[in-house]
C-alpha cells in the first residue's frame, strides 16, 4: 500500500509541476543511457532491420509502391515548380523582401529509431544542448515541419511530433494570408486548423506555413502541410480545416533542428528593405545567432506573402527566400 501511495504522490507531483526536479533526473538519464542505446543500436541495427524486413515485408512493399507513385508525380511537376520559383524570386526581388527561414542556422540530427516504450509520444535525437539545441525549437525535414523539441539533455533531445494531440502551432494559409491554429489529432492522423474565419476562402491543396506570431517558438514560413478538407461551421462562424503534414513522420532518419530563439535580443524576422534603397544584393552568408555544431542546408519553404514586419537588423544580410509553391488543388 505504501508503494502505491508513493506512486500516486509522484504522479500528482509530476502532473502538477512543469519542469521540476523529476525532469532534471530524466535529462540525466537521457545522457547516461545515450551511449548504451548507441552501442545497442550499433550492434543490433542489422538484426533489427532484418527482423523488420521479415515482419513488415507487406508494409514495405506497399510503401515502396506509394513512393514510386509519388516520385513519378514529383518528376512531372518539376518543370512547373521551376517556373513558379522563378516568378516568386522575381517578385521577392521587386519587393526587396528578405527571407529569414532560409538563413536560420540548423543542426542536423540523427533519429534514434528505437522506441523505449510502446507509449512514446516523442522521437529521440542524437543532438543536445551542447549542439545548441534548446527546448521549443522547431524540427523539420526537407519536406517540412515535423515537430518541436520538448526535452533536452547535454547530448540528446526529444521531439514532440506535430500529430501529437498536445501539439499546436500558429499557421498561415499562403494563398489567403489568413491565420489559424493547427493542432495534432494523434499518430497517423491529419492535423486540424481552427480559428479560420468563415469568410476566408480556403481551397484544398493550399499550402500552409507557420505564421510566426511574436513570441512563437516557430519562425514565420516553415512549411507545415497542405489543406485536404474544408468544413464550414456556421454556428461558430469558423471553418474546420484538415491539414495533411508535408513531412513523412514515419521512418525518420535524419532531421534538422532549426536553431531559432524567439527571445533573442535581435530576433530573426522577415523584414523589408527601405523603399528608397535599391534592391538588396543576393545572399552571401547566413547569420550566426546560435552555436552550431554542424549546419544543414536550409530546406524549408518560406512564406511568400508580402512581409509586414519592419524590424531590421543591420547585421543581417539580405537574403532571398525559397518557397515551395502550392500544390495544385
Amino acid at each position: 500500500m505504501a508503494l502505491v501511495i508513493t506512486a500516486v504522490v509522484l504522479i500528482t507531483i509530476d502532473v502538477r509541476s512543469e519542469g521540476g526536479p523529476l525532469t532534471s533526473v530524466r535529462n540525466v538519464m537521457l545522457d547516461v543511457l545515450g551511449p548504451v542505446r548507441s552501442a545497442g543500436e550499433w550492434v543490433l541495427t542489422p538484426f533489427g532491420d532484418a527482423w523488420r524486413g521479415v515482419t513488415s515485408y507487406d508494409d514495405l512493399e506497399d510503401e515502396n509502391a506509394e513512393l514510386r507513385a509519388r516520385l513519378a508525380e514529383a518528376e512531372s511537376s518539376i518543370l512547373q515548380v521551376g517556373e513558379i520559383e522563378r516568378d516568386r524570386q522575381a517578385l521577392l526581388d521587386l519587393l526587396g523582401a528578405r527571407d529569414v527561414v532560409a538563413n536560420i542556422p540548423r543542426v542536423t540530427a540523427r533519429v534514434i529509431d528505437a522506441p523505449l516504450s510502446n507509449f512514446e509520444r516523442t522521437i529521440e535525437l542524437d543532438r543536445g544542448s551542447r549542439d545548441g539545441v534548446r527546448e521549443g525549437m522547431p524540427v523539420e525535414t526537407g519536406a517540412g515541419l515535423i515537430g518541436r523539441v520538448v526535452q533536452v539533455s547535454t547530448t540528446r533531445s526529444r521531439v514532440e511530433l506535430l500529430t501529437d494531440p498536445n501539439f499546436a502551432v500558429g499557421v498561415r494559409m499562403v494563398r489567403s494570408g489568413d491565420d489559424g491554429v493547427a493542432s495534432g489529432r494523434g499518430r497517423g492522423e491529419d492535423m486540424e486548423v481552427g480559428f479560420v474565419e468563415l469568410e476566408t476562402v480556403v481551397i484544398p491543396g493550399e499550402t500552409v506555413v507557420t505564421s510566426g506570431f511574436q513570441g512563437s517558438s516557430f519562425p514565420e514560413g516553415l512549411l507545415v502541410g497542405t489543406v485536404v478538407d474544408v468544413e464550414p461551421n456556421a454556428v461558430q462562424g469558423t471553418q474546420r480545416i484538415t491539414l495533411h503534414p508535408s513531412a513523412e513522420l514515419t521512418r525518420l532518419r535524419w532531421v534538422s533542428v532549426v536553431l531559432y530563439v524567439p527571445d533573442a535580443p535581435e530576433p530573426v524576422v522577415v523584414d523589408r528593405a527601405p523603399e528608397t534603397t535599391s534592391l538588396p544584393p543576393a545572399p552571401t552568408a547566413p547569420p550566426s545567432t546560435a552555436p552550431v555544431a554542424s549546419t544543414a542546408p536550409p530546406t524549408s519553404a518560406a512564406v511568400s506573402d508580402p512581409p509586414t514586419a519592419t524590424t531590421v537588423d543591420p547585421n543581417e544580410p539580405s537574403t532571398v527566400s525559397s518557397t515551395v509553391p502550392e500544390a495544385s488543388p
Partner: protein, 172 residues
C-alpha cells in the same frame, strides 16, 4: 545467508540489467512496430516466482527505472508495475502444481493485464496519446513476449531474486 543490503544490491543489479537490455536491445527488436517490455516482464516474473511482497518491491524498482526513461507522467509505471508485481504474487496460489509452461502463461497474462492497467491510468489522466494507441496489439505483443521470456529466462530471474529452485507456490 545474504544480508538485507546484499539482497537489495542484487535486486538493483537485476533491475539495472533489465533496464540496460531494454534501452539497448529490446528497443531495437519490434513486433508490428511495438517493443517487448523487459521491465514489466521482470516485475511480473518476480511476483509469480517470488511472491507478492517481492513482486511489489521489484515492480516498484522496475517501474521507477521505466519512469526515468519514458515520457509519460512520472509514477505511472511505478504504480502499474508495483500493482501487477503484487497481483502476480497472488497468482502463485494457483500454481502449486504448475510447471514452467503454466507459470509462463500466467506471467504473459498478467503482463498483458499490466498494459491494460497502464492504459486505464492514462485514461484517468486523460493522456490521449496513450489511450489512442493500438492497445490490443500492444497487449498481445507484451503478453506473448513475456510468455517466451519466462520460458527462456525464468532460471536467471529466480537466481537473481534468490529463490530456491524447488518451486512450490511459496517463495523462499
Amino acid at each position: 545467508m545474504m544480508s538485507a543490503a546484499g539482497r537489495f544490491a542484487r535486486f538493483v543489479v537485476l533491475i539495472a540489467a533489465a533496464l540496460a537490455l531494454q534501452v539497448s536491445a529490446a528497443s531495437q527488436l519490434t513486433v508490428a512496430g511495438y517493443v517487448i517490455d523487459l521491465l514489466l516482464f521482470v516485475a511480473v516474473s518476480a511476483g509469480v516466482n517470488g511472491g507478492s511482497d517481492r513482486g511489489a518491491l521489484i515492480g516498484f524498482g522496475c517501474g521507477l527505472a521505466s519512469d526515468l526513461v519514458v515520457q509519460t507522467p512520472f509514477g505511472m509505471w511505478i504504480l502499474t508495475m508495483a500493482v501487477v508485481g503484487y497481483a502476480a504474487g497472488g497468482a502463485t496460489h494457483f500454481l502449486v502444481d504448475g510447471g514452467r509452461a503454466a507459470r509462463s502463461l500466467v506471467v504473459g497474462l498478467i503482463a498483458a493485464s499490466g498494459v491494460g492497467l497502464f492504459v486505464c491510468i492514462a485514461w484517468l489522466l486523460d493522456l490521449t496519446y496513450v489511450t489512442e494507441q493500438n492497445v490490443p496489439i500492444i497487449i498481445a505483443v507484451v503478453g506473448g513476449s513475456s510468455i517466451l521470456l519466462n520460458l527462456l529466462a525464468e532460471r536467471p530471474i529466480r537466481s537473481g531474486l534468490l529463490i530456491r529452485p524447488n518451486f512450490a507456490g511459496t517463495p523462499a
